[in-house]
């Protein structure tokens, strides 16, 4: 093989790798959106101070606290798998926390916040599921609406998340039971 062909081959491999990464990201998520089990998460009010907002809505999924008997087995910033279940209102719950991904069950990777040994509670952060991207004009409006709704009428907001194994993708954000884009169109002044 001469030098030119070698370079060509190298370039082709590099190009393929560069294309493969975003392609794989897309495929993985499309699979989850198609085949994943749907979970509805309640959302909780969010901290209003964050320099990077505007382009996305910051989500705070519930539950943020998990009762567990082995509180001491968890420490700050540890990675955990939250095994999901549903309550009587069809909202997602966390059945238990696992150190390793449980086979055959929907479980989302989370990070441990702080632990309360007295109450036997572990606070968790849904680190992979905390952003919902929107255009820069709409995101602030959506966020204000989202915040108002979480506060005022207490939990008329929820997000749907598709979960396939331990892979989770946010599907949509709902306000009063309607997708956020439709809701914003219906409430142009309500910002």
């Amino acid at each position: 093989m001469n030098k030119r062909n070698l370079i060509l081959l190298g370039f082709a491999l590099v190009v393929a790798a560069q294309l493969a990464v975003p392609a794989w990201m897309i495929m993985e998520r499309e699979w989850t959106l198609r085949d994943g089990q749907v979970f509805k998460f309640r959302t909780r009010p969010i901290d209003p101070a964050d320099a990077f907002r505007g382009r996305y809505v910051w989500l705070g999924l519930e539950p943020g606290v998990v009762k567990t008997r082995d509180v001491n087995a968890w420490h700050y910033d540890q990675k955990a798998f939250a095994v999901l279940g549903t309550d009587t209102n069809e909202f997602a719950t966390v059945e238990r926390l696992e150190h390793k991904a449980p086979a055959g069950q929907a479980a989302v990777p989370v990070h441990v916040g702080w632990t309360d040994t007295k109450k036997g509670e572990v606070h968790i952060n849904w680190t992979g599921l905390d952003r919902f991207y929107m255009t820069e004009q709409k995101a602030p409006a959506a966020e204000i609406a989202y915040r108002e709704h979480n506060r005022r009428t207490n939990q008329t907001c929820h997000v749907t998340v598709r979960v396939r194994g331990t892979h989770a993708v946010i599907e949509d954000l709902f306000m009063d039971g309607r997708p956020i884009h439709a809701w914003l169109k219906a409430h142009p002044g309500d910002k």
């Binding site: 370039f11 590099v14 560069q18 975003p22 990201m25 991207y133």
Partner: protein
């Protein structure tokens, strides 16, 4: 010999021949020996600079346009859109590789654009699917996918972007309490390129640029890749690192002229002086050494402390070995700056064994004073205004810091400041006069 020196020589030659100091034959022989000077081509340089700037601006622009978040587009359309800039940049890079392989402007520009578009493509996918950031992972993926661009296009701008990427990655990983020592093998991936460039011409612009960037990057990385299980390790590590930089610069890049052409020497010297200044305070020496070993509170596996041991010993040792070679070469500045790691180790031992801080700080008071005086005096001797001023600055910093530590009254402090100001002015005026006189004589 550097280009400026040859230029100066060629400028002088006709006069030397006219004065009868050189025969025309000697003149011809000298010209044959040094060869013709490559004329500087400012036009070409401008094309390269504007090519790269243009590529960077277009790349940043595309990223911002994508960041606008076109939510009205459907997911498949957005998926295609995430590939579009990347594919175009790849096409441009391919075209450059095969049609303009000689053009530095095309190579640098296309390389910069492709590097940025890799990040843009991944970001857009992340946006479409609400992937919240695992920032270190994103940075690492981006940098690694971009690294081959550096080699395929033989370009420095993608190399600088790569270096930025892995440094940023190490910092974020460290911030999240991760293990960032992977930075070192990642940085080493640039070494073959650097070696190639250095062999082609040690004083060319591109290796020099890369060396400046490496100095900054390595300085940041040395701090974020150690676990700090041994309190105060940074004292020896950084003293060794800056001394090593200076000595390498002094050893293998001695013929370069000017401040910017000698990154290792000047970055290392500045590092040693700033570090020595910090070491004249007592705070770096407090609670360091084995008595304050962090092992008990360290909740990571013990192997994560290996980089501490390797870096903390290898770098100062390398610096000291080079110092030994310097002693034989008898370069006084090398001796001066090369002493820093030995003094740091001495100060460290003093502070950790006796739990007193004043002797170690005092050691560096003395060192900074000697270094400042040396630079000042030798600067005046060899007519180097920059060196003289650095020496003066070191002495000034030391005096000011010590006078603020003490409880002297304002009158005395004021008088000291006035005296230092006068010293600066007088030294510089004298130096300028002397240079002027030299010019007239010549």
């Amino acid at each position: 010999m550097s280009k400026q020196a040859i230029q100066w020589l060629y400028h002088e030659l006709p006069r030397l021949v006219a004065q009868g100091l050189l025969t025309p034959e000697a003149d011809a022989k000298l010209r044959a020996h040094y060869g013709p000077i490559e004329p500087a081509r400012p036009a070409r340089l401008a094309v390269i600079i504007f090519g790269v700037l243009g590529a960077l601006l277009i790349g940043a622009g595309i990223m911002l346009v994508l960041a606008h978040n076109w939510e009205d587009l459907s997911r498949p359309v957005r998926a295609v859109l995430s590939f579009l800039p990347l594919v175009l940049a790849q096409g441009l890079a391919a075209w450059t590789m095969f049609n303009r392989p000689q053009s530095l402007a095309w190579r640098e520009g296309a390389g910069a654009l492709l590097f940025l578009m890799i990040g843009a493509s991944i970001s857009l996918v992340a946006q479409t699917y609400n992937i919240s950031g695992d920032l270190p992972r994103f940075l690492l993926t981006w940098a690694l996918l971009g690294l081959p661009v550096v080699y395929l296009l033989d370009a420095v701008v993608p190399a600088l972007l790569y270096l930025w990427g892995i440094t940023e990655w190490a910092c974020h990983l460290r911030w999240e309490d991760g293990f960032a020592a992977g930075y070192w093998p990642l940085a080493a991936l640039l070494l073959p390129l650097l070696a190639l460039w250095l062999r082609a011409g040690r004083y060319r612009v591109r290796p020099t640029l890369l060396l400046w960037a490496l100095c900054v990057s390595v300085t940041v990385a040395a701090g974020v890749t150690i676990e700090r299980v041994l309190p105060g390790l940074w004292i020896m590590l950084y003293a060794g690192l800056f001394a090593l930089m200076f000595l390498i610069g002094e050893f293998w890049y001695g013929a370069a002229e000017g401040f910017w052409a000698r990154p290792l020497r000047h970055f290392g010297a500045a590092g040693v002086l700033v570090l020595a200044f910090l070491f004249t305070f007592e705070w770096p020496w407090k609670e360091i050494g084995w008595n304050y070993w962090y092992g008990g509170r360290f909740h990571h596996p013990a192997w994560r402390a290996i980089p501490d041991a390797v870096l903390g010993s290898l770098i100062p040792i390398a610096a000291i070995v080079l110092l030994g070679m310097t002693v034989r070469r008898k370069t006084p500045l090398g001796l001066l700056f090369g002493l820093a790691p030995i003094l740091a180790i001495l100060g460290y031992a003093l502070a950790s064994l006796t739990d007193t801080y004043a002797p170690s700080a005092g050691l560096f008071d003395l060192y900074l004073l000697v270094a400042g005086l040396w630079l000042l005096v030798s600067g005046i001797r060899i007519n180097k205004q920059g060196q003289m001023n650095v020496g003066l600055l070191a002495i000034t910093a030391l005096l000011v810091a010590r006078f603020f530590d003490s409880d002297l009254d304002f009158l005395l402090r004021g008088l000291l400041f006035i005296a230092l100001g006068i010293a600066f002015l007088v030294a510089n005026i004298v130096m300028l006069r002397r240079k002027g006189a030299n010019h007239e004589q010549a």
